[in-house]
Amino acid sequence: MNRPEDVQVLVAVPGQLEAAALIRTAAQIARRRGADWQAVHVETPRRPTSPEVLEALSHQVAQLGGQWCVLTGERVSDELADYARRSRADSLIIGRDSPRRWYWPRMTGRRGLLDAVKTLDIVVVAGTPAARRWPWPRWQRPTQHEWYWPLGSVALALVIAWLVARQMDLANLSLIFLGAVLVTAVGAGARAAMLAAALSALAYNFFFTSPRFSLEMIEHSELSTVGLFLLVALIGGQLGGALKRRMTALRESRHQVRQLLTTARALSAAPDRARIREIIVTTVEHDWSLPCAFLECEGAAVIPSVSAAHPGEPALEAATIEAATWSYHHAEPSGPGTAMFSDQRWRMVPLVDASGVLGVVAMAIDDRRMGRERREPALLDTLFRLFAAALTRVALVEALGDARLAEGNERLRAALLSSVSHDLRTPLASIIGSASTLRDLDDSLSGEDRLELLEAVLGESERLDRYIQNLLDMTRLGHGLSIKRDWVAAGDLFEGALTRLGRALSRVRIVRDWGDDLPLLHVHAALIEQALVNILENAVRLSPEHGQITLAGHTDGDRVCLCLHDEGPGVPEALRESIFERFFTGERADVGPHGSGLGLTICRSMVRAHGGEVVVTAGPNGRGATFIISLPLMAPPEAFDHDD
């Protein structure tokens, strides 16, 4: 036997389905105390419990978050006491109205529970009112079938018997009527067969026994023939009716399985809660002919409200809402056929999983009709478990998605912080180093050194300023930047970027290699200029002293390409994609070539915002790197053509 861990509350469960109420009460008590609980059933060899009942009870215990345990022993109280001691439980809950008296464990005396475990609290729970039986359905009027089948078949049998009466023995004629009864039984069920049997007996008596055309009977043998016939016809009719019922049931169960499968398939494909709610209400309405509504508590609301209904939203009375609220908070069904609110028209069934109540299904029940919900309660129960499982699945998927999103955001934030701190600190390191050298080592510095250090302070301050600009751009990009497009010449963009870099360009050679025939671009000029500044600055930083940087442009099909070649170390093939994404992949900010942190990421964002793309390849002759910004080519406005 497994040793339970940390169980504080035990509940002794008798082996009847009625114990469900006791289990619910125990779960509530344990929840209120914040304790773990376990349901224990003691099976005695003399009275084994049916496996179906155990299965149902254990399912309920698991649903309410408890553990389930079955013990075997001669005496209930001995086993309970022993188990309570071993599991170090501090309370034992017993139902007052256990339906079988014998299940009441002995409380006092030599082998009673009270004396056996002195440290145990024993809680006796009052019985809940037993579930009221479904009201009796009214007498169902016979259908037309049930009239036509017996009347028709008996009439037919009478005609045949009349025709063959001369050639046949009187006793054999009864077989013809018996055939009519059996046909009726198979065709219209047992009730019709009974009618047919009675009609046949009368007809047989009236037309064939002497004196003919009277219901009187003289001969004893004829009397016994009719009596025997009636007996055989009744039995045969019942058997035939049973056959008919079984056939119908078989057809129906095939139909049920198909319905269940269809529902299960629809539920498993449902992407969200709203779709599942919809499937629930339409399934119940369509397959069970019950108007249905789904109620749940939105947010912190205490009273559930209708979130889906079929057909159409019902007008629920205050009492119905009260019943739904009760079911929601007690996780128990209410309405017709249950102990609570049984006079209501709506039956409320809560959908429950381990985390609590997921919602309440309300079904409008017509209690004058022997509806399917009363004939197949187990099937309906299975259906509700399917619903609950589907809702749980969706809830889990949503929770997982939220967790992933949060994790992603966290990573992005960490990457941004490390990137920003690197981008700001690198120029600051030069500024602080140079300035502190100027202050502390002034005596040993030549005039030229001083000038160079001041130059460094100035240049790095400008670089810092550009980084801050980048940061601001980044924030704007994050908040949905609006692109104000206008027609602009590619050359102007290049020149603008070169002007902005200014002093930083002094150590490289810039070659302007774009032609005047480049088409106009329809872009937000400031953004594309910033994209150019970012790749240009990168190139300058990585170029050797007096290295050459070539700016060029050309059209390529429906795109305009702005190119920048440098003579720096180049970008290894494996890194050509990730240098633009580094910031997003959470890599270290200061590793690898073009370690400008945000710069290239921002460049790509800006170009992509225009429907373009930026890539890096090996430079001409395999030396250095080439950055290519490609932007979609657009037809210039009409006015331009006229001006030409």
Binding site: A429, I432, T437, R588
Partner: protein
Amino acid sequence: MTTDAPRVLIIDDEREIRRFLRISLGSQGFAIVEAATGREGIELAREAAFDLILLDLGLPDMDGQEVLKSLHWQCRAPVIVVSVREGEEEKVAALDAGAIDYVTKPFGIRELLARIRVALRAGASVEAAPAQVLAGEIRIDLAQRRVSRSGEELHLTPREYAFLARLAQTPGRIVTGRQLLIELWGPVFEHNTHYLRILVSRLRQKLGDDPRTPSLIQTEAGIGYRLMVEGDTAA
């Protein structure tokens, strides 16, 4: 220290950093060699002997930690890591990989010069481990395994002595907590940093070192300890 100018190798991809280091260290009489990539730095260190290497961790071609490992294998020059990375793990990893010190960017030139002086001394002492180390009033005699304060002999437990001797072997240089735990207790105790904290507080008491402003055993929070010496190590 050699008679001619100490040779310093700077491995950093930031040109502006190299420029100001070249000017400032050059003005203090150091001979500077620059490398912009890790590979170039390793190459240079292999070809010529340096008295000191300043190494940035974020290099374009390989990570500084990797550079540190290969430098450690092939040359004896002390390495000071100069990086914007300020996490404790980075510092500990660099020191464990053989760096002698760690300076976080941005830094003032005076701090760097002080660290360079300590590193140069430590680099010199690696070749001949000192027999005696003087730190304030404390004399640590490594040959005779004795510790005295103002001439008065102190009674240390074997582990306290081992701790002090380990720091004294490399005066002025950080020894990481992990290293100390492995050497003094064993590899299993690598993470039991509270052992060190207890041992150091007892040791400071015996040495007469004020725990609030320790002048002998300095704690580098989260990283390790170093023994502060007055500058002269007696051979």
